[in-house]
């Protein structure tokens, strides 16, 4: 029997998701043996035209990482959708927008101004800017255009499964590949990581405040962090309660709070709203103004509560509508 064909592709991403695949280390050789990787730009040569020539649906699964920022990325995502039985959104950027989607809090104009005009190192007396079509020495050179907004993958194509994480862990990747190879798949739309909060598997959970209240939100720069005690109990924001389990508590093991890269759980798809509610419940004071109180106590609410989920959040959503007008 022919081996199932697998494609790995990246859009607006940092390459960390591809590195995570490389990190399957020894296992990777087994994976390579069990499937036929037809597309993986970081590590293997391939021909793009060959993909175009393939029959629709002939790729068993495409793993697509990165957010969607350019028309080209959208085009490839659409092509892979056509050619693939399954599409898995791989990692936070693809699932929720990820860090690149923080750009949805600013504008393309401001990004250009900062990069090419206002940077203290830039020497640009003629006010040159990269252009979609530039004429240099009589040669015409083209660049692709950016969307004004950073999209998540399911904004542009239908997605079957989601692998969360910035990046997903090698274990989760291996589990997903095995499930696909064995045909033991959960219902469509599932997020391929345990549907419970990070706190449920955190070693510090015992010291997590439930009835207890904290008086003030602190920043990690201000205090010596206790390496045993729940971050929330120390007054430091930890996104654990609003974040899906599956990373093996990586940041907590490094004695730093969770910043939420695994995204939300099924029961509360708005990660920020969930975290605000959690904080509202444990912060001292009357309950009436709980939300205001939380927002006031935090220096960067948007970047804290939606650090990886801006393309999925109401905040990011508002921006999309404005920009698309």
């Amino acid at each position: 029997m022919a081996k199932p064909k697998v494609a790995l592709y990246w859009c607006a991403s940092c390459g960390g998701c591809d590195e995570a695949v490389v990190d399957l280390a020894e296992n990777i050789l087994d994976v390579v043996a069990a499937v036929d990787i037809i597309l993986w730009p970081i590590a293997m040569d391939f021909k793009y035209k060959d993909i175009e020539a393939m029959e629709d649906g002939s790729i068993a699964v495409s793993f697509i990482n990165g957010a969607i920022r350019t028309g080209e990325q959208k085009h490839i995502a659409e092509l892979l959708r056509r050619k693939s039985g399954l599409v898995v959104a791989f990692g936070s950027c693809s699932s929720l927008g990820g860090i690149p989607a923080l750009a949805n809090l600013t504008s393309r104009r401001k990004i250009f101004d900062r990069s090419y005009h206002n940077s203290p190192t830039v020497v640009n007396p003629e006010n040159i800017e990269p252009k979609m079509k530039a004429s240099v020495d009589g040669h015409v050179l083209k660049l692709p255009e950016f969307f004004k907004t950073v999209y998540k993958l399911n904004d542009v194509i239908d997605v079957d499964y989601y692998l969360p994480g910035c990046p997903p862990t090698p274990e989760l990747i291996a589990n997903a590949v095995t499930a696909i190879l064995e045909g033991k798949l959960p219902p469509k739309g599932a997020i391929l990581s345990p549907d419970k909060s990070l706190c449920t598997s955190c070693d510090r959970n015992e010291t997590k405040p439930e009835d207890v209240t904290i008086s003030k939100i602190k920043r990690v720069i201000d205090i010596e962090v206790d390496p045993e005690k729940c971050f929330l109990a120390q007054g430091i924001i930890c996104m654990g309660p609003a974040t899906r389990d599956g990373c093996g508590q990586s940041c907590i093991n490094g004695n730093m709070p969770c910043t939420g890269c695994f995204g939300p759980t099924d029961s509360c798809r708005d990660q920020g709203a969930k975290m605000i509610a959690t904080l509202g419940a444990i912060l001292e004071g009357d309950d009436e103004n709980a939300v205001d109180k939380v927002i006031e106590g935090i220096v960067d609410p948007a970047g804290t509560f939606y650090r990886y989920a801006m393309s999925a959040s109401l905040l990011g959503g508002a921006r999309k509508e404005v920009e698309n007008e």
């Binding site: 590195e19 280390a25 590590a43 391939f46 990069s115 190192t121 990269p130 490094g254």
Partner: protein
């Protein structure tokens, strides 16, 4: 009328880097452009974030070298708060940093760029990957590469929480210390890493240096550029990845300037072109004179060979011996041979391994004095490290609450942006004559390109590793007459 050849990743449809080559009337190369077609805007969207979060946000500039951004960012936050890390914290930062440099360089040599060499430059593309390398060096060595990388990455995971996008850097120190039990365990890893570094140099020696054809390629004129070189050095002018002063030498190897990170604005500027989202840094003292090499051009190079050229040697014994051996073979210092970047990279692997071993032998590294809590009002700071791919600058301004108001980044890969364009143009000039395009073009251009280990993820503040390439040859009416693709 000019003809245009474009070497494009997967047919312009993808978005991470492309090369355009233009021919003159007689069909010879006139110009070549390396275009980076993506920009993500970190400098802008980091504004309004709390400064201490930047060491956890900026690593997403590049998932191939997240530690470099994490560390540059952490050092910048130190500077913003005017706080010095404790001596133990400095040791721990050095340890994870060496581990990063070593595993990253090994990744490049065995998985990404090295296959060109190890497998042979003329091998078909489908063999030029890790599997091809394993069949050449043997399964045993192949397994050792994987095993060694895994172990040194474990050191990083233990201390920094995660290998891809580490989290441990805080102003004045680190979040987590090292216990004695772990020190002993990691010392053993470092010992194995050291042994493997020796083996890797041996492999390079046996496969590459003993083969005259490869050696000719390395020292040949085709991959040569006489430029300025930049790198961080310690007080003895030895290569340092984590800290020191930035030293620049001219194409004859003479020191042009040595400066502190905080003075970078006096020495480096960036040039903008309308055809690339990537900016082109140059030396202010010399000025931007276009994409040319030589003493009168402000173009400088960074990354392994540049660091070795800009230094007076390596701080550890075996690496120093290898350093001398390399310059003997290449006919003295500085070496201008782009392909020697691969060699220099392995000498750095050796240094990183030796330095890791030294750090872990020192029991002092297990002290729990890992952090100084900042007490001063934050304002502005500049932090520099040597990333695997070259000198990396972070520069932040904040308000009195430590909220970011401005960010400027000069990432490692862009340091070589102009030189990469030049190297590609030169390879093209050799291989395209009178409109005849030699079939080896793609291969040679790629080799020139990959020697720099360009991480365009970094450059667009976007894409790592190996780029799929396509060559389209256009006639004077801009019609595609021939396509070579891999």
């Amino acid at each position: 009328m000019t003809k245009k050849i474009s070497i494009d990743p997967i047919t312009r449809l993808e978005g991470h880097g492309k090369i355009e080559i233009f021919l003159d009337d007689s069909g010879n190369v006139k110009n070549a452009y390396l275009q980076v077609p993506e920009l993500r805007g970190f400098e802008q969207f980091c504004i309004d974030r709390p400064v201490e979060e930047l060491p956890r946000i900026t690593p997403r500039i590049c998932g191939v070298c997240p530690m470099a951004h994490h560390m540059a960012s952490t050092k910048t936050v130190d500077a913003v708060y005017h706080v010095k890390p404790t001596p133990t914290a400095v040791k721990l930062r050095n340890l994870v940093y060496d581990a990063y440099i070593m595993e990253d360089h090994l990744l490049h040599f065995f998985f990404l760029g090295g296959p060109d060499f190890v497998v042979t430059p003329s091998a078909p593309p489908e063999e030029r990957n890790i599997l091809g390398v394993i069949s050449k060096v043997g399964l045993e060595t192949g397994k050792k590469v994987i095993e060694t990388r895994k172990k040194i990455r474990e050191i990083v995971i233990h201390l920094s929480g995660r290998i891809i996008h580490p989290v441990s850097g805080l102003p004045g120190g680190v979040s987590k210390g090292l216990i004695e039990e772990k020190r002993i365990e990691f010392l053993k890893y470092a010992e194995d890493a050291l042994a493997f570094a020796k083996e890797t140099l041996q492999i390079f020696n046996d496969i590459v240096l003993k083969n005259d054809k490869y050696l000719d390629l390395i020292v040949g004129d085709i991959y040569k550029h006489k430029t300025y070189y930049m790198g961080l050095v310690d007080e003895k002018n030895k290569v340092n990845f984590y800290d020191g002063k930035i030293r620049v030498v001219d194409p004859n190897g003479k020191e042009l300037v040595k400066f502190e990170a905080k003075d970078y604005l006096e020495h480096i500027a960036e040039h903008v072109e309308p055809w690339s989202y990537m900016k082109f840094p140059f030396l202010k003292a010399i000025g931007w004179n276009g994409f040319i090499d030589g003493k009168d051009s402000g173009v400088y190079r960074v990354a392994p060979l540049a660091r070795l050229n800009a230094s007076d040697g390596m701080a550890t014994a075996i690496a120093q011996a290898e350093y001398e051996k390399m310059y003997d073979a290449l006919g003295g210092k500085p070496a201008h041979n782009t392909l020697a970047f691969h060699w220099a990279r392995l000498i750095e692997v050796m240094y990183a391994a030796e330095h890791m071993f030294e750090l872990l032998k020192d029991k002092g590294i297990t002290s729990d004095d890992i952090r100084n809590i900042p007490t001063e009002v934050p304002d502005e700071g500049i932090g520099v490290v040597e990333a695997a791919r070259g000198t990396l600058f972070h520069h932040y301004k904040t308000d009195e609450n430590g909220i970011i108001t401005a960010v400027n980044l000069i990432v490692a890969t862009v340091g070589n942006a102009a030189a990469m364009s030049m190297s590609i143009a030169k390879a093209a000039q050799y291989l395209i004559k009178d409109g005849e395009v030699n079939d080896g073009l793609l291969n040679m251009v790629e080799m020139a390109f990959r020697a720099y280990d360009p991480c365009l993820a970094c450059a667009t503040h976007s894409l790592p590793g190996q780029m799929p390439l396509e060559v389209n040859i256009h006639n004077s009416k801009n019609e595609v007459v021939k396509t070579i693709r891999r």
